[in-house]
């Protein structure tokens, strides 16, 4: 399978309670609006950006670093917007 070029950037989880269920739900809802395939990584572990439970399994606490990777035509926009959401999640 050929590997399309993707966009990948690291973001810090700002929410005091970490990336918990509600922001994970918001993340997945936003990820679903892009046509790119989105994955989220922490260390060596990568999960689908379209599954709330998979994202929760990363146990991303406050201050942890997550990598968002998007592959597809709107990859740049997807990573930017999803990263913004992660870093703005302090309000949640």
């Amino acid at each position: 399978m050929s590997r399309e070029p993707g966009v990948e950037r690291a973001f810090t989880v700002r929410a005091e309670l970490g990336l918990h269920a509600r922001p994970a739900g918001q993340f997945v809802a936003l990820a679903g609006r892009f046509s790119s395939e989105i994955t989220v990584g922490r260390g060596d572990e990568w999960v689908s950006g379209c599954s709330i439970l998979s994202i929760l399994s990363l146990a991303a606490e406050h201050g942890s670093t997550l990598i968002i990777r998007a592959v597809g035509t709107d990859a740049e926009q997807a990573v930017s917007e999803l990263g913004l959401l992660l870093e703005a999640a302090g309000q949640n």
Binding site: A21, R22, G25, V28, A29, G43, I52, A59, S64
Partner: protein, 137 residues
């Protein structure tokens, strides 16, 4: 997929499950909840569940999630198994509901019941065993 989903549970457990679900998946599919009070007569309980099935059914069957095998909600729900196209999955948890709410799928009722049971079981964890290394302290 147009399998309907009805949550049947003791007291307002089902309603509260759906309230929590709506915080996590605000735009998810709409489910129905039936609250059963132990003081209710059997016929009244059956009537409530039947109404829920009727509202949820879009001709592809109805998945009934209950709180616990052997409890009254499960037992009463199970009594519809013969006469209606329903499957009853007992011991629901929030991961199951989150998954169902966001599922884009064309599973049949029977496939969905098996899938959601396994999904719920898979998502019961000892949390500390899930944490990445160096993150347990």
């Amino acid at each position: 997929m147009a399998v309907g989903v009805v949550v049947v549970a003791h007291c307002d457990l089902g309603k509260e499950f759906l309230r929590a679900l709506s915080l996590i998946v605000p735009d998810g599919r709409r489910f129905f909840s039936i609250s059963l009070d132990p003081s209710e007569q059997l016929e009244a309980m059956r009537k409530k569940i039947l109404k829920g099935i009727g509202e949820a059914d879009e001709n592809d069957g109805v998945l009934i999630l209950t709180d616990m095998f052997g409890g009254t909600p499960s037992n009463v729900a199970l009594s519809f198994h013969e006469e209606h196209h329903v499957e009853v999955v007992t011991g629901m948890n929030l991961p199951m509901l989150v998954k169902l709410a966001s599922l884009k799928d064309d599973k049949s009722l029977e496939e969905l019941a098996t899938f959601v049971k396994e999904y719920g079981q898979r998502n019961i964890s000892v949390a500390s065993q899930l944490l990445p290394e160096g993150n347990s302290g």
